[in-house]
Symmetry: C2
Subunit: 218 residues, 2 copies
DNA sequence: GGATAATTTGACCGACTGGTAAACATTACA
DNA sequence: TGTAATGTTTACCAGTCGGTCAAATTATCC
């Protein structure tokens, strides 16, 4: 008499933890490529090396699998922004944020694509997270940036669009990886592109936002 | 005795043009939201207000529909980059490019999402276009930018990553629209965000890339 | 107006979809 | 070691998928 679905049990057995881990890992592989609608449980099952009913023993529905994956990944994903420190030096904070985001694009491209797919398709499953925790975090950090501009530590600019532009430029290297590789060609296809990107983005944001003592014509 | 499928006939009738237009319009609606795998012919048929077999009379397969859509949209999509002029003034060329890309993100978000979905999922249907026409165009414009940096007209920087960053920042407002709206909140949800974005991005790129006469302490 | 070609549709197909039921196998624990 | 709980699988279901077919309808042109 099974029935006490994994999700319902109080204590998690070793097998449960292992299998759920295994499933979410496979789910990340699949969902990050095809999005929610385009992914099938069978695909995930095959990647996970388990039978489809076995997946459904641990996660009752495809939605539940997707949700568990989002929940698990979201916290980590926002870590770099959370690390943004009001007390720090603006220049090095921005530089550090860019660097960390770029490292995540390099080391966790699937996670980036998972969210990109989701948001691109209208965020039907994470709307609450966007309007809630994400917005609050961004509001908080935008206030920090604004205080820097007010104090004349960096050039005056819209903090929200600054954050958007850091997100988009860094995640671009994960989400649009195929395009980046195609355009750079065979030569630059190694990991070198991340170093080049880091150099360029630091130049663009850090140098670009520094307060100018002397502005060129117009 | 039909059989001469629309695609095979030499002369296109008025009905053919109208219906194909109608179908591709609906296909853009659907593919841009759900990607290729996540979209169904039935969905497109419903949006187009036609029966499924009727769609398949004009486009033999779902793939053919997708391909026709890509082909039709790609040319227009690259127009702003093509307009990038070597003879022009660097500052106003970059400013104009950003403005045009941002206008496209505002006015043609479905087209942007169509490509975003496709590239995000590994570009299985447009790999050739990326490695061919796109790469060539970018190479050409990168050379232009490099000539500007060499001439000291703008600050020295990697032209490819400059182009990537303009792509990503501008298209972000189409592809991640839901997220942008969620973070900005109800107040800024009007079209005002595009003006704010334009102001910020011009500041970031144009001011940031101008040659400095005087650099602040590193 | 009638013949002929172009267009549209309903019925249908086999493969795949998310998910279930129940039998079977394995583990944990007394 | 026995047994109850946990874990796994085979067989299956109803609905949807991309796509076909032949019949019905409409447009075209003489």
């Amino acid at each position: 008499m099974a029935i006490p679905r994994a999700a319902k049990t109080q204590r998690r057995t070793r097998i449960q933890e292992e299998k759920e881990e295994q499933i979410l890992e496979a789910a990340l592989d699949v969902f990050s490529v095809s999005g929610f609608r385009g992914s099938t449980i069978d695909q995930i099952a095959e990647v996970a090396g388990m039978s489809k009913p076995n997946l459904l023993y641990y996660f009752r529905t495809k939605e539940a699998m997707h949700r568990a994956l989002i929940d698990r990944v979201l916290f980590t994903w926002l870590e770099p922004l959370r690390a943004f420190n009001a007390q720090g030096n603006p220049e090095s904070e921005i530089r550090g944020y860019i660097r960390r985001k770029l490292e995540m694009a390099r080391d966790f491209p699937r996670e980036s694509r998972l969210f990109a797919n989701e948001v691109l398709q209208g965020a039907p499953h994470i709307e609450d997270e966007l309007k809630g925790p994400l917005k609050e975090l961004v509001d908080e950090k935008a206030a920090v940036i604004r205080s820097w501009t007010k104090a004349g530590k960096i050039v005056k600019c819209d903090p929200y669009h600054l954050i958007f532009s850091i997100w988009s430029t860094t995640q671009h290297y994960a989400d649009f990886d195929v395009q980046v590789r195609a355009v750079l060609g065979q030569g630059q296809s190694g990991e070198g592109r991340f170093e080049d990107a880091a150099r360029f983005l630091e130049q663009l944001f850090v140098d670009g936002l520094s307060v100018r003592t002397n502005q060129p014509a117009s």
